[in-house]
């Protein structure tokens, strides 16, 4: 599964880790994260994320 990087702050979403603090369980691919999820570091919306190359 692909990792995604936040354009605003550089936080990397790793599907293996998920974001359990904010209700995203480990193993969740980026496209399965709810639309209202926001970057846990800077609060940017999902649309600010790009696939890590």
């Amino acid at each position: 599964m692909d990792k995604y990087v936040c354009n605003v702050c550089g936080y990397v979403y790793d599907p293996e880790e998920g974001d359990p603090e904010n209700g995203v369980s480990p193993g969740t691919s980026f496209d399965k994260i709810p639309d209202d999820w926001a970057c846990p570091v800077c609060g940017a919306p999902k649309s600010e994320f790009a696939k890590e190359e």
């Binding site: 702050c9 550089g10 603090e21 570091v41």
Partner: protein, 401 residues
Amino acid sequence: MKPVAIKPGVHWVGAVDWDRRNFHGYSRSPMGTTYNAFLIEDEKNTLIDTVEDRFAHKLLCNVAHIMEPAKVDYIVVNHVEPDHSGALPELVKACNPEKVFCSPMGEKAIKEYYGAQDWPIHVVKSGESLSIGKRTLHFLETRMLHWPDSMMTYVAPDKILVSSDGFGQNIASSERFTDEIDQRDLEVQLARYYANIVLPFSSVTLKILDQVAKSGWDIDMIAPDHGLIWRGEGVGYAVEAYRRYALQKPANRAVIFYDTMWRSTEKMAHAIASGLADAGTPVKVMSLKSDHHSDVMAEVFASGAVIAGSATHNNGVLPLVSAMLTYMKGLKPQNKIGAAFGSYGWSGEALKDMTEFMVGMHFEMIEGVRAKNRPGHDQLKACVDLGRRVAQALQAKVAAV
């Protein structure tokens, strides 16, 4: 204040804001603050950072003590927040620099703030370096410490890390180095700055500390953009303090904040405090009518347990309590034990509201106490007992770390 050479050829040229008491519009700064900027004399004369716009003349005057402003070749912008870049348009005009360096996020922000279409902006990324003659500048992006554009600049071979908002303290003084002032004041202001500004970015802070350690930079001076400069043993102290702050290990200390209409909730606060103190946990009681939210936040940061009190007001919490909780939530404190209490007249929603709020912040909650109208002997005993229970839970938690 006149320029001060912090190393041969490297000059502090900033401005001291002696009477600043309201920092960034929301946080108290009882000791004032400083906007630090540094001018390096080399083949390419380089200015690192500027000051708030209303101090532009001071900065220019300080630069002029060292060289004609027109002789400044490069300007490095570590951070575009107005307290560090406000004077930039005036400086660019006076210096007419050959190049202005900033981070990728910095370029966007400079353009958004200042237009700056015709400025000679050059973007530098983490890991890049720039020779200015005898010296080399190394750049480290520190995104979200505490803005997306933040960056630090390491000056070799002078061994100076210009750290922007990291390691800063809001202190106005005639001294320029941390070892020259009262150490307790320094500690309080360093922690206070962290608690009110850097705290939400603690995980980022830990990563940046690791990057700095891995960079192999030999640092014997950390020059933040606010307050005094760390040198000698101060460097290790500052780095260690930041690591400790970012880890947020629980401390055996508690804070109770509250608001009250007819002082019943206040009585409860005092009873809870006496339970905590009896059980061996030092506690501070803060009335939100007397203590500013940023002062309370400094105590929250230093405390392993946070206890919120409010009378029930129109089926909810009092506005000062609501403001405090919202402010605290934004700063994302971790590893706290929480509890709530309050007096009520008929419906009593405040306790539930405060509890839910703290559950949302992942606080480990101890069941709180509610008292109808005027707390009687039994209810005050229940408050003392709440204090004891919090103290026991906290001490067990501290011992387990």
